[in-house]
Symmetry: C2
Subunit: 189 residues, 2 copies
Amino acid sequence: MSVVTDTMRNGVDTEKMFATLDLLKAQPELGKFRFRASNRWIDGSHNRSTIKNFYAAGGEDTTRTDEFRIDAGEPAILLGTDTGANPAEFLLHALAACLTTSIVYVASARKVRLTSVESTLVGDMDVRAALGVDHEPRTGFERIGVSFRVTGDAPPAKLREVVERAQKRSAVYDIVTNGVPVDVEVTTD
Amino acid sequence: MSVVTDTMRNGVDTEKMFATLDLLKAQPELGKFRFRASNRWIDGSHNRSTIKNFYAAGGEDTTRTDEFRIDAGEPAILLGTDTGANPAEFLLHALAACLTTSIVYVASARKVRLTSVESTLVGDMDVRAALGVDHEPRTGFERIGVSFRVTGDAPPAKLREVVERAQKRSAVYDIVTNGVPVDVEVTTD
């Protein structure tokens, strides 16, 4: 629940936000974070991730009281039974959520009060590569399209600036547009 | 629920799988899929995606009876109230889920019966860039580490081959390692 005070804007405590920024300027080493997810196969395309603690600001963050459990699946046409959204759809969710939170945080810092932020994301994929039928198409999305509708107490040009700045601040947008090195280790016993 | 028959392996109907592959070989245009997510800001770092229909195999797939609703959030140290896993954690979940399902499908096609697939993913990030304190570190993960433990009725070398092939077949692994073009459109009314 958000307490309404002078420092709250868009549900963000801007006093705490600026204090956090000042702290990170003074002690840059506190910016090192490590997020984690553990996943376990259940059956077929059904698997579940658990997410809880993470490393942040010089130590293990154990403030979350409960773990998040997130089930994935596939629809029937991709040989599953809809036990959850599929992994590619979760990637779209991650991107939508990160851009949206970035928009809200940037707007809050710039004293823009938002009334709504809505988005629709589409990802185009040729599933023949993922299914091993043809190696010509790429395996992942060929492109992702994001349509935002943002309203608030600022002129359209300023709202567009907020979205542009949010793209530069969004961790998942950086990951998805630029790629990240992934190391995979395997044990079999 | 999986019905145990000769064609079921690891919860995957291999007869249906091979029929799908044959169909896609005969009619490559059926491989074009479009996945979607719609997201709406709720408050602060709390937003929610809804995921349901998608375009597949020449038409709109409306077989899902219910939509998936997925809430995102941030922990207190990142100015949220833990309304859900955060977007970067959801990206790790998407990657874990996609690699795991790819392992299960590849194993099923190769007649390997799996007993367990477990993984732990870590993503290292300097949050100063996302918070706008410093533009030197990249905004997203610097690297992602994936540790799989895979067991089944095949020798270790064959299980490792399954994981290697699954990396090539995983849509999210391709997206995260290679990046994807993202087009962002904005309306403000």
